[in-house]
């Protein structure tokens, strides 16, 4: 296995490197007309340095990060809790299922005008949007995870003398983890996309707002820096949950 790892690593790097080289060459040689709208990669990287030391990037990034973390953690925790409850308790499922089926199809950004009127334009607005964006998919993944636990394992636990709570803690939740992590991995990226979108539309701070200001100044280099940050953060969040999943379920799967 180990002798293949450098090959995998190289194949992860080489295409990106080729793409960046192509970008740099195309921009420098002005193969695409209107160079102002297509800055070279090195110019964008230089802008990263300027933005970092100029005190623009970090405050906006921290604003977005704080919103994503707050909205995603609260939305996911609620989604996991209610999903597990619905999967485990048929009565809870009967109560929640119709309501959730009605609300789930509404896109998270569709709530934006409603929430702007309900809670106003403040820090809570993007957090609430991310909460909604994370809540429903994580709920459905958790519900599916619980439902997929084989009934004979639950019966085996019952016969061995376990109470419902013990079975939930020691059998059902651990076995639902792979599904729960699938939801978290998908939605962690989505949370970043939603925060940027909501900042572009309604909130004056954060990466999305920075992009909108850059657009009005025709600073494509800044926009590209923001997009690269968005891309890296989506990837990092997904990798973080992949790592957590491996740590918690890797041994037995």
């Amino acid at each position: 296995m180990n002798e293949h790892q450098p090959i995998h690593f190289i194949w992860g790097i080489v295409p990106v490197f080729v793409m960046l080289l192509l970008w740099e060459t195309t921009a420098r040689l002005q193969w695409i007309p209107g160079g102002i709208f297509f800055p070279p990669f090195t110019t964008v990287m230089a802008e990263v340095g300027d933005m970092l030391f100029g005190g623009v990037l970090i405050p906006n990034f921290m604003c977005s990060l704080g919103r994503v973390v707050a909205g995603f953690i609260s939305g996911s925790l609620c989604g996991i809790s209610i999903g597990i409850l619905m999967g485990w308790n048929e009565r809870a499922n009967r109560w929640f299922s119709p309501i959730i089926s009605l609300l789930y199809p509404i896109p998270a950004l569709g709530w934006l005008p409603v929430l702007m009127l309900w809670i106003g334009i403040n820090e809570m607005l993007p957090i609430a949007i991310i909460f909604i964006c994370s809540f429903f998919p994580v709920l459905y993944n958790s519900l599916t995870g619980v439902r997929q636990v084989k009934p004979e394992l639950i019966n085996a636990a019952r016969i061995l003398g376990a109470s419902d709570l013990f079975i939930l803690q020691r059998v059902v939740i651990p076995l639902a983890l792979p599904n729960i992590f699938t939801g978290l991995k998908l939605q962690s990226g989505m949370a970043w996309k939603v925060v940027v979108a909501s900042e572009m539309v309604a909130i004056p701070t954060g990466i999305g707002a920075l992009m909108m200001r850059a657009e009005s100044l025709v600073r494509l280099d800044i926009i590209l820096v923001c997009l690269m940050i968005l891309s890296v953060m989506c990837l990092l969040f997904e990798k973080f949950f992949t790592f957590l999943e491996f740590k918690t379920t890797g041994k037995w799967r």
Binding site: A156, G161, R170
Partner: protein, 349 residues
């Protein structure tokens, strides 16, 4: 250990089923697929809803949940918790009952030694072989000291050799611990090897109950007989003792070598699935080599039943359909038959 008594059990399969399992006995529940064997086990364990009364030692347990019945259940596909190690699986029932950590550790080590799975203690079920899984599942089942042991075709997914070895181990363990046990199977050899008594279940009803030999030699219906392969039954006139626990039995015009323990032999049963046929004489160490003529051939997918005339006796052989096509044997052809000792059962007087 408790006597299990089921009275007028009704649910989606059973309709007024009665059954009694004696103290310390291993009762085999045999029947075709869908006959209600597992359902009856689930009724005893409290895993399915039912009407009627289940009593342990005369006390109704109908209001008790499965966790309070103190029953051990060995599931068909092991039902080991995949996210727990062998040790954690065995400890599960003890932890669920809130026992002290030291007591749990001591009991788990005892069972790891008893079932010879000590070296596997930190392994997860995915990395265990079928036999190792089965031992772990059995250790887990017995860890909380159940008074009743329910086994649902626990060896159906194992190879024959491992299954036979584990069957003997379970039987001796059940006797040693004096557990009252109910063992579900549709395998005739398992039923005869394991059971103190045998209950044949059909459409949710107990069709016949008795010792395996009683049922084999005196089936009350053709369905019961067919469940055990409709054995060839021969009345024995005389027996001559040979060495190595064998005897030469004269049954009508047949002379067969059979297992013999010195008691007078009344009848013998030869399972059709133990009769091998060939067009040519077979070079084999098997003691029973017979020559006959094919009388009739009946297709009963996935097997073919072949009646052959040997001297004045009729013997039925059961051959898998695929093999039968390759033998090119037809009605009235002369054939050679061999019968292995393990497919012969003896009824003593």
């Amino acid at each position: 250990m408790p006597v299990i008594s089921l009275s007028s059990i009704t649910n989606h399969i059973c309709c007024g089923t009665d059954l009694q399992v004696h103290d310390g006995e291993l009762l085999v529940l045999a029947g075709a697929t869908g006959a209600g064997k597992t359902t009856l086990l689930n009724v005893i364990a409290g895993l399915t809803s039912y009407g009627g009364i289940v009593r342990f030692d005369g006390t109704s347990v109908d209001s008790l949940s499965p966790s309070k019945r103190n029953v051990g259940y060995l599931f068909q596909d092991f039902a080991l918790f995949p996210h727990l190690t062998v040790t954690e699986n065995i400890a599960f029932g003890l932890q669920a009952r809130g026992l002290d950590k030291k007591i749990i550790a001591q009991r788990v080590s005892e069972l790891l030694v008893l079932f010879k799975i000590g070296p596997l203690n930190n392994r997860y079920p995915k990395s265990l072989s079928g036999g190792e899984k089965q031992r772990t599942a059995l250790a887990r089942t017995l860890a909380p000291h159940p008074e009743i042991l329910l086994l649902d075709e626990p060896f159906s997914s194992l190879d024959q050799r491992t299954a036979k070895f584990l069957r003997l181990e379970i039987k001796s363990l059940q006797q040693k611990l004096g557990l009252t046990a109910v063992y579900v199977t549709h395998n005739q050899m398992e039923a005869f090897e394991m059971g103190d008594r045998l209950a044949v279940i059909r459409n949710g009803q107990i069709e016949q109950i008795g010792t395996p030999v009683e049922i084999l030699f005196n089936p009350i219906t053709s369905a019961v007989s067919e469940l055990f392969g409709a054995p060839n039954i021969f009345q024995c006139n005389s027996i001559e003792a040979l060495d190595f626990g064998l005897g030469k039995a004269n049954c009508g015009s047949l002379s067969l070598i059979i297992p013999y323990d010195g008691k007078a032999v009344d009848k013998i049963a030869v399972f059709p699935s133990g009769v091998r046929l060939s067009r040519h004489p077979i070079e084999t160490p098997m003691p029973n080599r017979l020559q006959g003529i094919v009388l009739d051939v009946r297709l009963k997918t996935p097997v073919v039943l072949v009646d052959i005339q040997v001297n004045n006796e009729k013997i039925t052989a059961e051959i898998p359909s695929q093999l039968w096509e390759k033998t090119y044997i037809k009605i009235s052809d002369p054939v050679y038959a061999t019968i292995s000792l393990k497919w012969i059962r003896v009824l003593t007087k």
